[in-house]
Amino acid sequence: MEVKAAMSINKFMKGAVTGWMTSHGEHSDIVMSTRIRLARNLRGFRFPIAFTADEAEKVDSQVSAALLTSGEKGYAYMKMAELPGLERQVLVEKHLVSPQLTDVKRHGAVILSEDETLSIMLNEEDHIRIQCIYPGFQLENAYEHADSVDNYLENKLPYAFDEDFGYLTSCPSNTGTGMRASVMMHLPALTITKQIERIIPAIARLGMIVRGSYGEGSEAPGNIYQVSNQTTLGKPEKEILADLKNVALRLIAHERRSREILLSKSRVALENKLFRSLGIISYARLLPSGEAARCLSDVRLGIDLGIIEDVDMSILNELMIFMQPGFLQQYAGADLTAEERDIFRADLFRERLRSEQQINENNKEN
């Protein structure tokens, strides 16, 4: 079967790129995005794991009423059960909602800000999950944003809070601050030199956790790792953020040093690897997701090192998201089999690189 793309790549991307996918912010050559998540629950209602449909409805209407009358413009409210499956999947792939929220048998909903830096999940594992994602390394900014939404809500609604245990959450691993702060990092040099395997347990000793970008136990496709705080009890928010910042800065320094060593010790081998990957994503007709992620990581490293020119660095951030099944099918405007997805992924990558070239040629003419 032959499926043609439903719209041009530029138009598709324009509608799909979210604030955090752009390459802005400090250390954005290594830190792709920063995320803060606050877990909150309302007093007087059981947690989603044990509540009734009636309680779910009440929680939903109280929180959404509070937010939608806040005077903040451009909030969009979406009930998971009312969204088509593909749209739910795309929200997951953009990291705006968790896979757990999209289970339609439950009562999940999400409120998104217009620029999608803020998403508030309702009735996920907890009644309220405030999440802010910013591009680059911006722990303080992302926290301030989440904190201001939290302050607004706590003045409108009675939170479940305990003098000893802090914010009460369904999972004991979130009790206390209810805060999970994480930075998504592209660490190709530490991965190539296998240093990452030794660094991960060392970081665990510092109360932080490193994992593949798709959550617990996952590999790190595209050499992208998520570093986050493991504990939420016994340390104030500011301290947790400072500790995470410290760890991330050390990782950044390690990664930069490894990049320099790679360049000085094996420049030709490195250039060969990176340009081969550029060749694959520029010309391949079938592109499985694992290979696509590996090549994207290489191309991005090439851009960062000044080896590959004329390709924008946001290519990694964007295509890592757009190469996922939900997005590909939205781009195609049809359901796709696994093989069709590989074809479409290859098309998408080639088109994206072609549009890159056109922009560069136009720039040169001007």
């Binding site: 947690f47 003045n155 000893d164 004991p172 206390g176 030794r198």
Partner: protein
């Protein structure tokens, strides 16, 4: 105590290593612990999930070992009046069912949290404004009530009546805070 490895810096980390002949314990400084850790990483070791983690609860030992037998004879522990979760079930699923569970299992929780949060058992950090206000109001009501009792005992009934009105007004505000919804004058 000095570090077992470098014998220079003070030991601050206890490093336990499982070997063929049982486990051995070494007292290391941070620097040596970091290095030792770096060279003993086994990437096949997945971190434990919360459920796995908590289900070792009744195994009687800190180390990880089969726990099936001891679990069968495990007591249910207290039951939450709001969501009917038992402490045993809580350990099984690794989740609380409602805010009241925290009250129900309060006595057991420091041990749970200590394991999950690196030895920490109490919250330090943000406190909701509304909670602060409620807390302050509650204290104030208690204070006024004891003054009122005093006034009654001294037969100063006019004072007592004024104090009673004051306490009632505060209790109304407290109730409003509790609802937290529209009409609350928290701001």
């Amino acid at each position: 105590m000095l570090c077992d490895n470098c014998k220079e810096r003070p030991a601050s980390v206890i490093f336990t290593q499982e070997g063929m002949g049982g486990s051995s314990e070494r007292h290391l400084c941070e620097k040596c612990a970091f290095q030792t850790q770096m060279f003993h990483f086994d990437p096949s070791q997945e971190p434990l999930s919360i459920q796995q983690f908590l289900s070792h609860w009744f195994s009687g030992s800190e180390s990880i070992q089969p726990f099936q037998q001891s679990r069968d004879s495990m007591p249910d522990g207290p039951t939450c009046p709001d969501c009917k979760l038992t402490f045993r079930k809580f350990l099984d699923i690794g989740k609380f069912g409602c805010p009241t569970c925290y009250d129900t299992f309060r006595g057991q929780l420091p041990r749970v949290f200590s394991k999950l949060h690196n030895g920490h058992t109490t919250h330090v950090g943000k406190i909701p404004d509304s909670f602060n206000e409620r807390f302050a109001l509650k204290k104030k009501v208690e204070e006024i009530r004891s003054k009122m009792q005093e006034a009654i005992e001294m037969e100063r009934f006019e004072d007592a009546a004024a104090l009673r009105d004051e306490a009632n007004a505060l209790k109304e505000r407290l109730a409003e805070c509790g609802n937290g919804g529209e009409g609350s004058d928290v701001d």
